[in-house]
């Protein structure tokens, strides 16, 4: 005890030991404050950039109607020349010539009617029969544009300088509304221009009507999964990020459904759908959508530079390893069955999202990975430009009957 008392005073037995809090070093506080300030400035900066972006996008979209002020010559080079060629020569065995075509030389109603409804059958032009598949431009050109275009075509290729009035187009549009493509030259001649006869007779392609079971899949769904039409629309026209299916090659559609099954294309909703389908059902759905003809409901919506998109699609950027889209997806981007889907009239949000998915690996089912490298070579502005341009194209005409059954996988 004694020794204890003589030592340092013993701590109170009720005393709880404590440590005074070591203050946070001033430097750390300063850095925290600086970071907070930085955050605030960034937020502010960013909000400004977002606002500028939105304003620019609105500007671009507002400018686009200006494109529809295009004269007949530019409409021709943008809308007709990829198939009918810049000199109107057409393509041997595939696309009829415009130069010297009797369909331009007669009544102006004839070319207008063709533009409004497209062609889905054989047509005789200057003694040559073409198995015609021309898209309808009703959903992508206004009455004024069609009038300007037809005036230009008739003056340049048929020596008929009298301009066509937009009212004529409006009247015909009302009259022909809702019709599908002309069943070849025969129906055109019978309805509008008897002097163009004789035209080859139209043999209805052996189109197998979709069986009731397939229609049930489309409209009601099955095995607990959704109806196709609930997202892709009654005509398979799609919207926003849901793709247009109408007119895509049958084999391509079936292959996509397989890709959702094996994971080479990732999408939760479609994986559920694909798991509920048998192989036969996948093939039947492909056949069904390949034969659908739906007007375009796609419009440029990403603020992409349409002219840049047009260059990328038609000419490519070879220095960057980007061939023109049309070199594989076909002139006019109608697709080449069964491997290469049509791109025309596809929804821009969908197109751009797929180009991004090839980069991220969400989608990895391109044949020979052809799309992977190309998508990587496109930057964000390129993707938006391409997607927006493709949305301005007329939809794919129906021709899936040409697809050989053994091409379907």
């Amino acid at each position: 005890m004694k020794t204890q008392l003589s030592g340092p005073p013993s701590p109170s037995e009720t005393f709880e030991p404590y440590e005074t809090m070591r203050p946070i070093p001033l430097g750390v506080l300063m850095i925290a404050v600086a970071l907070a300030l930085w955050g605030v400035v960034l937020l502010f900066d960013n909000s400004e950039a977002v606002a500028i972006g939105q304003a620019e996008r609105a500007d671009v979209l507002a400018d686009q109607p200006a494109r529809s002020d295009a004269d007949g010559a530019s409409l021709f080079s943008a809308r007709c020349a990829t198939c009918h060629q810049p000199n109107g020569s057409g393509v041997s065995g595939a696309v009829p010539p415009l130069a010297g075509s009797p369909f331009l030389a007669g009544r102006a109603e004839v070319p207008i009617a063709i533009l409004l409804r497209g062609i889905d059958g054989p047509i005789r032009v200057r003694d040559t029969v073409y198995d015609g598949h021309m898209p309808s431009f009703a959903s992508v050109l206004s009455d004024e544009e069609i009038a300007r275009l037809v005036s230009y075509l008739r003056e340049r290729f048929a020596d008929r300088p009298a301009p066509v009035a937009a009212e004529m187009v409006t009247a015909l549009r009302g009259e022909l509304a809702g019709g599908s493509g002309w069943k070849g030259g025969q129906e055109l001649a019978a309805r509008l221009a008897p002097e163009l006869a004789p035209q080859p007779s139209f043999a209805l392609a052996s189109r197998a009507e979709a069986d009731p079971a397939t229609m049930r899949l489309v409209n009601e769904g099955t095995n607990g999964s959704w109806a196709c039409a609930s997202c892709h629309g009654a005509l398979g026209q799609g919207s926003e990020t849901v793709p247009r299916l109408a007119g895509l090659p049958a084999g391509y559609i079936a292959r996509q459904l397989e890709s959702y099954l094996n994971g080479s294309r990732r999408n939760e909703s479609m994986a559920v759908v694909a798991r509920s389908l048998t192989r036969q059902e996948r093939v039947a759905l492909g056949d069904y959508y390949a034969l659908l003809r739906a007007p375009s409901n796609a419009r440029p919506s990403l603020g992409g530079d349409i002219a840049r998109g047009e260059r990328l699609v038609l000419e490519g950027v070879w220095d960057r390893g980007i061939p023109p889209c049309v070199s594989c997806h076909g002139p006019s981007a109608f697709g080449v069955a069964p491997g290469f889907p049509g791109l025309a009239a596809q929804h821009p949000a969908y197109t751009a999202s797929q180009l991004a998915a090839w980069v991220s690996g969400e989608r990895d089912n391109a044949q020979q990975k052809l799309m992977n490298g190309i998508a990587r070579s496109l930057d964000d502005a390129d993707r938006r430009a391409v997607a927006d341009y493709l949305a301005t194209l007329p939809p794919v005409p129906v021709a899936a009957t040409k697809e050989r059954a053994d091409d379907r996988r």
Partner: protein, 336 residues
């Protein structure tokens, strides 16, 4: 004990009061210091002190943009008669069967082998060809003008013997004028007579173990068939328009074409195929695929006068399957 407690309570109290004052002071210093730090760092950024000083990010165009010559783009075609001729030449180049139909006997266009409208380096670009002629050619053992050279293209690559007129355009024909005007325009600014980087097709060293059509078929099925079709006849769109060119058979180039030589085809394939994936095949794969494609029957060699064997001796040295027996059949008889 009691004292101790009081003292310790006091000792605890006083730092607390003192601490409050200090905390305020520290807060002010931290705020001020933080603001100063922020201003300093942002100034540093503005002045470029903290920017990345590493190697500049490599341009992703770089690997393929090594070629120093860039031909003019479509939008640079001038107006007027010269521009019209350029456009006509371009139309022939892109859509030969339609715009020079009297002289084309197959389903090919110039642009099938001279990619990007004759612009692409390493696919025998026209800007490099333009500055290389007139030149002596071993193929016909004489000086060839550009017109002579183009005539050769029609004779062999476009198989003119099967065309409506049965031959290439006659000397001085507009087809030559328009094509040459187009080529001359593509070569705007190119140095005459200088061997240009990216001219012709690359020359590949022959693989040590040679090449083999059987191996080539495997490459073809894996890498080429998706576009050119497993039968090599290309593919058409819904209007019947050829999108991918036929590689052999009656609608392709004939036995006299440069592309019918395995080495030429191998160079083209290596640099350009599959489209968008140039230089992705190994040299061996390119040679084997070329051997497979060029060991298929195609339209006859228009130079053949006597037997295939005679013509083989006269015109087909080197890497050609002409006259050779493949699969029990002598090649060179021609199609149709």
């Amino acid at each position: 004990m009691i004292d101790d407690d009081r003292i310790s309570a006091e000792a605890q109290d006083s730092p607390k009061q003192e601490g409050a004052g200090r905390a305020v002071r520290r807060g002010v210093i931290a705020l001020g210091g933080g603001a100063a730090l922020f201003v300093l760092v942002s100034m540093a950024f503005d002045l470029g002190w903290l920017r990345d000083r590493g190697e500049p990010v490599k341009n992703r165009e770089a690997p393929q943009a090594m070629h120093t010559f860039f031909p003019p783009g479509e939008q640079a075609i001038p107006d007027g008669p010269a521009g019209d001729a350029i456009k006509r030449g371009q139309a022939i180049f892109m859509n030969t069967r339609m715009n020079a139909k009297d002289f084309v006997g197959n389903h090919l266009s110039c642009s099938n082998c001279h990619l990007d409208g004759g612009r692409k380096a390493d696919s025998a670009p026209m800007w490099a060809a333009w500055v290389s002629y007139p030149a002596y050619r071993k193929k016909n053992k004489q000086i060839n003008t550009m017109e002579d050279r183009i005539k050769g293209c029609f004779t062999y690559s476009m198989n003119a013997q099967n065309s409506p007129t049965g031959g290439a355009p006659p000397a001085g024909h507009d087809v030559y004028k328009d094509l040459q005007t187009y080529m001359h325009w593509l070569a705007t600014g190119a140095p005459t007579g200088k061997k240009m980087l990216g001219a012709g097709y690359p020359e590949l060293d022959k693989p040590a173990g040679g090449y083999d059509p059987a191996r080539g078929k495997l490459v073809y099925d894996a890498k080429c068939a998706v576009c050119h079709g497993s039968d090599g006849q290309g593919q058409r769109d819904l209007n019947g328009r050829l999108v991918f060119p036929p590689l052999w058979g009656p609608d392709s180039y004939n036995w006299g074409a440069g592309m019918a030589r395995v080495n030429t085809a191998a160079g083209f394939i290596k640099a350009n195929m599959p489209l968008g994936q140039g230089n992705s095949l190994t040299d061996q794969q390119a040679w084997d695929a070329a051997a497979f494609i060029d060991s298929q029957e195609r339209p006859r060699d228009p130079r053949q006068k006597g037997s295939i064997a005679d013509n083989a001796k006269a015109n087909h040295g080197g890497d050609s399957y002409y006259g050779k027996v493949v699969g029990g059949r002598q090649l060179g008889a021609g199609t149709k």
